[in-house]
Symmetry: C2
Subunit: 304 residues, 2 copies
């Protein structure tokens, strides 16, 4: 059976919907539940409430699980590095304990969503292939790198199969606005509330925005890989857009013009994050199918 | 002023001796002291007792320090991965707290001794250059990698200069035998005690053994780099030797034949660790000067 950890988040809900639609039995593990969402899935999913910071509860949620999809993320890409120690204590350590619990429980495969946007750092070639040495400059990206390396260590030493998906910036309907996480949900939130937006630097920082349906396709493809697979794979749109382009796209669709407040660029951000996604096509037979125009239109429509 | 952390260890003592001989003022920081050794250094060194696990004491030891040489290592290369969580809690977290204290105290340069023998992992080209993506398979090497990455993050974001020396297996007079750390001191200990030795696998695992005087030369060269330097540099002998070759070399010098007990190879060890040391020559003007024959002879003589 497949267990999805962090099932109540943006990606988690989309993934659960897809898996249950396809008749795949799945255990949804989350700290909190939304009973309306849960009941919308019908009988295809079983729900377990568990907190990542409680190792014993997490371990008991693994009974009968062959494949773990790990979507829990307690760190945030847009925050400066004040939370460095907390990111180790509340993310790295629980994660390593969870990996040990997975091995004990007989889990065979671990699918982990890493951060393609922050893991490579400022000096990587663009578009960046997976072979580029990661050199993150913020605590979020470093936390993801550390977890990746523990997964790979347990892969080598204890035979755990894994697929690490280094994800670009995902967006789509149902993404919840949280400070420091996600330009698109921030814009939609501030549009609805008629708030000014804050732009770091000149607004020309380039990012790769990948639509949620394409992300879910990639996770499904990772779930279909043969036993014994161990891979690190970039998942992105294959395109980059500036912050200002995203702002203007949403302005065009909503007819609303944001009041812009420009503030200094953060030295924990890179100027460009652009992923080489050719390995994903080769290994997963996957490529992104949703154009930005269609994806952002669906996202704005769902927020109206 | 330079502060040496972990000054009471094998490398720390050799470094303190060299620095005080050269008239370099130095603060020696250690959890414990050996008063005989301390007084042998004369007035050139000041001593501060401090425990790495006590952040406030560590912070106060940094007053007036421009350059930190960080030799403290609480993890051990030869242990399996049972101590993974302890390595994070007792090494990574104190280290990150210490780095934050260094920034607050105005430290300009951080010299860190990393593990050239374990950081690259099993699939690296040999001899391995610094550009090879680290992929350690034991908790010791992974702990070193994580600390490296935090140093580099603070280098990029907060302007800390750093020199990370990825050290091969150091050996020489005065190396203390501790379980799981160092083939040469283990052999000398077991020779004196007339104990049998345990060999993992077939004894043909290749390692790079670098003599302590050469290690100290490399640290001195790193201390002489111009301000603004940020570098990751392999330090090794440029040669590799098998476990059995080391055993036989010591047998030849002592006239004692070890009773060998062969046990299964550990899957947390790599078959070969061989460092490309050309960058060290280019950046530091450093190369190893002590041949293995001379180094091992001096080491055995000092242990008699």
């Amino acid at each position: 059976m497949i267990a999805v950890y962090g099932s109540n988040g943006f990606i988690g809900r989309h993934l659960l919907r897809r898996l249950t639609q396809n008749g795949v039995p799945v255990r949804a593990v989350s700290r909190r539940f939304d009973s309306e969402f849960s009941s919308s899935l019908g009988a295809g999913a079983e729900f377990v409430q568990s907190d990542f910071l409680q190792p014993i509860a997490m371990a008991s949620s693994l009974e009968g699980i062959e494949t773990v999809v790990q979507l829990i993320s307690t760190s945030s890409p847009g925050l400066r590095n004040e939370h460095t120690i907390a990111d180790i204590e509340e993310n790295v350590i629980p994660h390593v304990k969870f990996l040990q619990a997975c091995l004990q429980a007989g889990v065979k495969r671990y699918i982990f969503l890493s951060s393609g946007g922050t893991i490579y750092g400022p000096h990587a070639v663009v578009p960046t292939p997976e072979t580029s040495t990661p050199n993150p400059i913020n605590s979020h990206g470093l936390t993801k790198l550390i977890v990746e390396r523990y997964i790979q260590m347990y892969g080598h030493v204890d035979g755990l199969d894994y697929v690490i998906l280094r994800l670009a910036n995902p967006y789509g309907p149902g993404q919840i606005f949280r400070k420091g996480q996600g330009l698109v949900p921030m814009l939609l939130d501030h549009w609805r509330k008629r708030l000014p937006i804050r732009i770091f630097g000149d607004g020309k920082a380039m990012r790769d925005y990948v639509y949620i349906d394409d992300v879910i396709d990639a996770i499904e493809a990772a779930l279909s890989l043969p036993a014994g697979s161990r891979a690190v794979i970039n998942i992105g749109s294959g395109e980059t857009r500036s912050v200002l382009e995203i702002v203007e796209a949403i302005e065009g669709l909503t007819g609303y013009v944001f009041e812009r407040e420009y503030v200094g660029a953060r030295n924990t951000d890179v100027d460009i994050a652009s992923l080489d996604i050719s390995l994903a096509e080769k290994m997963l037979g996957w490529r992104p199918l949703t154009s930005f125009d269609i994806g952002i239109r669906r996202t704005v429509t769902s927020a109206k």
